[in-house]
């Protein structure tokens, strides 16, 4: 689909060396020189060693500078605020060097991969090493679900809390299986490395996709680099969506590689389709321009194609049982390609659709029965789906307003650059229909659901691999040297700018996405000591919660109850005491932590200071007793129940 416009110049070192013995007769005698040891080819030596030197320098600089970073003193800008200038410099050098390598030594795949690998390791691995605890509150809940399967060896689709995970349990079953057979005891032991792992396998999948669309290594590698620099959504943590995203990419890659059409449909065929009959000629012209005769040859036998379809069905089977939205994205993309007559197997999309519906009606039946009315309501209010993602920033702290602006700016920049890339291709008389469909198809999810206010993030996430490809096509240079350097400079500047946006978007909320060891210790105390049937009243869900014995407790979030029940603010002690003394609970705790308060300050979803006021009110009240306290967390119980429980 994307042809290599011009050929790379071969390195001088590859030219055959002048051979003395090739000369004959007198000329041979005249030109004879005693055989001396060959001199060192410094140009070649520098060419082969500079990436290694830069890589080593970057690694040493980054590790040494970041080692002493104090993550307990993060400000409103999260992890950004504790990274020393030397670390930023190291990352900038890494990105600029990667650009130079990609555009000037694209044949050095191993070095380019090493640069991208290092980038992923530093960006996604550093928080895990420095924090020492699992990032993101949702990761802890996913560990809790794995813990549930380890404990019970089964699922309960009708369970009150985290029921959605019991209806799509594939990832958690795999997580429990992996935890058990590797002797890890808890998924907490490896979940922190999930972002590094998932980003690396995603990059491998992207290389697979891109290599099926172009033979130009510079485009392939630069698109992969751009993906790393713009994937700020943070869906790479220990979660079903992270694993299923990889599977989604594999399926799309296989379809683009082995099932795309190699010739446009005939006019007769287009005339048979009622909707397009009137526009048959322009459509045919468009499709003809979309099929590139110089696209990589991905020939396969009919037997191989059957096997490929079998693999696609198997991989999609895992997606279907593991996640709600990913199968939708896969199906919509595959159907988009089918409707645009870009792929051959007509039955395959329908098989995938059947599998999706079959799981909704069997494995996820319980969830669907409970949620069907709210899902239909959500479907009708499709106008709100977009706005639900775009939060009102007036309640945000000043730092978070900047972070939010950077997120929006980054997203807009990626989209605009990709559009410019597509336009450049159009001007060169190429219309990349399959790539355009892969970009547009995820947007149809906006009509279906708000997905808890996250739908726009997910749309961006699924469109990103192909947006990145268009950006790489925008700045693909020719092989003429001055233009190549010009484009390299442009690529490096653009990459660094995008990376600045990424850093704000990806690390900007880490002030409360990071949990201190004190918070983990308090949660350990709570979830290990609370008897079954306990009511856990949480300031908000943002703390290490539900990761152990989660199904034994009932949860109540103050941040959700406060807007619904004004008495919780005006008459805190009486309201909480009433809830906590209900006889259906064997015990009741209130937990208020540092990360809950920081999130409240950052996002302002409840009036700032509410949780601190509640904490102070409970401290002052004789009705409540502090049962656990450290610098970051305080846990209360009702005094009479606590005293009665003491031996």
């Amino acid at each position: 689909m994307i042809r290599e416009m011009d050929r790379p110049t071969t390195a001088k070192s590859k030219a055959p060396p002048p051979s003395v013995t090739a000369h004959r007769g007198i000329r041979h005698l005249v030109q004879y020189r005693p055989k001396l040891p060959q001199g060192i080819d410094f140009t070649n030596l520098i060419r082969k060693t500079w990436p290694l030197v830069i890589l080593s320098a970057v690694l040493v600089t980054y590790v040494v500078s970041v080692w002493g970073a104090d993550v307990n003193h993060m400000t409103d800008f999260g992890f950004l605020s504790v990274l020393p200038p030397a670390a930023y410099a190291a990352l900038a050098v890494l990105i600029i060097s990667a650009c130079i390598l990609i555009f000037h030594q694209p044949e050095d795949s191993l070095f380019i991969f090493a640069f991208i690998f290092t980038l992923v390791l530093l960006v996604h691995g550093a928080p895990n090493v420095l924090y020492g605890t699992l990032r993101y509150s949702w990761s802890w809940k996913h560990v809790g679900m794995v813990d549930y399967i380890q404990d019970y060896g089964s699922i309960n689709p009708a369970i009150a809390y985290l029921g959605v995970y019991h209806n799509w349990p594939g990832f958690f079953a795999f997580g429990a299986f992996l935890t058990e057979i590797t002797g890890a005891q808890s998924a907490l032991n490896f979940a922190g490395w999930a972002p590094v792992f998932f980003n690396l396998i995603d990059i491998a999948a992207l290389l697979f996709i891109y290599s099926s669309l172009t033979t130009d290594r510079r485009v392939i590698w630069f698109a992969a680099l751009i993906f790393c620099l713009t994937n700020w959504v943070g869906q790479d943590y220990f979660s079903p969506q992270a694993m299923n995203y990889f599977f989604h990419l594999i399926i799309i890659g296989m379809i683009l590689k082995w099932f795309t059409v190699t010739s446009p449909p005939t006019l007769t065929v287009l005339h048979r389709i009622p909707i397009v009959r009137r526009f048959a000629v322009p459509i045919l012209r468009l499709l003809s321009r979309a099929i590139d005769s110089d696209a990589p040859v991905n020939a396969s036998t009919s037997t191989e194609r059957i096997i490929y379809q079998g693999i696609i069905v198997a991989v999609f089977g895992v997606i279907v049982v593991s996640h709600q939205i990913t199968p939708f994205m896969t199906i919509i993309t595959v159907f988009g390609l089918l409707l645009a007559r870009q792929i051959k197997p007509r039955l395959l999309p329908f098989i995938l659709l059947f599998m999706f519906v079959a799981w909704l009606m069997t494995g996820a039946r319980t969830y669907m029965q409970i949620q069907v009315s709210s899902m239909l309501r959500d479907l009708v209010q499709f106008g709100d789906h977009l706005t639900s993602t775009l939060h009102d920033t007036t309640t945000f702290s000043p730092g978070q307003v900047i972070v939010s602006a950077m997120v929006r700016g980054e997203t807009l920049a990626v989209v605009l650059l990709a559009v410019a890339g597509a336009f450049r291709r159009y001007r060169n008389r190429n219309i990349d229909v399959p790539i355009i469909i892969c970009v547009i198809a995820p947007f149809s999810a906006l009509l279906a659901s708000s997905y808890g206010g996250e739908i726009l993030f997910r749309v961006y996430f699924f469109a990103l691999p192909f947006l990145a490809l268009f950006i790489a096509l925008l700045i693909r240079p020719t092989f003429r040297l001055p233009q190549r350097w010009l484009m390299t400079v442009f690529a490096a500047v653009m990459s660094c700018m995008l990376f600045i946006g990424f850093l704000f978007a990806y690390y900007g909320k880490d002030q409360w996405n990071y949990f201190t060891p004190n918070e983990v210790a308090a949660s350990d105390y709570l979830f290990n000591n609370a008897p079954p049937g306990t009511l856990v009243i949480e300031g908000s869900r943002n703390y290490p919660s539900e990761y152990r014995n989660y199904s034994r407790f009932t949860y109540l979030m103050l941040s959700r109850e406060i807007p619904l029940d004004a008495k919780l603010v005006t008459d805190t002690t009486a309201t909480l005491a009433r809830w906590m003394s209900e006889s259906k609970y064997s015990a009741a705790f209130v937990i208020i932590s540092r990360s809950q308060i920081l999130e409240e300050h950052g996002l302002g979803e409840i009036p700032i200071g509410t949780l601190e006021n509640i904490k102070q009110t409970l401290l002052d009240s004789p009705l409540f007793r502090v049962v656990y306290r450290n610098d970051d967390v305080i846990i209360f119980r009702l005094a009479d129940k606590y005293d009665a429980a003491q031996p």
Binding site: S154, I155, I181, L207, V315, V318
Partner: protein
């Protein structure tokens, strides 16, 4: 010959190492790396190599996807049928990997040995 039997040998050695590591006499990190590495690549590689003659990068990517899929199916089967026995699942994956490797050796054309 060497090319034909290198991967089957790697598959068999990796499968047996995973089986031995599951006995629990190794440090946890080593056990995790051996079994995790096996789960990530080997079951898929045992069959992808048998079925397809694609370039090595493609083969590797498809092996990872198929391996993770197989492991998820095995664990889902145990969960849904209330037969949760993770070690049994691992041994099943080891068995099918060795079977795939054996088939690779058996079905390789004789003239390439």
């Amino acid at each position: 010959m060497r090319q034909r039997i290198t991967w089957p040998i790697i598959i068999i050695v990796s499968a047996l190492s995973a089986g031995l590591a599951s006995l629990g006499f190794l440090p946890t990190i080593l056990q995790f790396l051996i079994i995790g590495g096996f789960i990530l690549v080997i079951p898929g590689m045992a069959y992808i190599r048998l079925m397809l003659s694609t370039p090595s990068l493609t083969r590797f990517i498809l092996s990872v996807a198929l391996s993770l899929s197989l492991s998820t199916f095995v664990s889902m089967f145990m969960v849904l049928t209330h037969t949760w026995y993770p070690l049994g699942g691992l041994y099943f994956l080891i068995a099918i990997s060795i079977a795939g490797a054996a088939l690779q050796i058996i079905l390789a054309p004789r003239n390439q040995w």
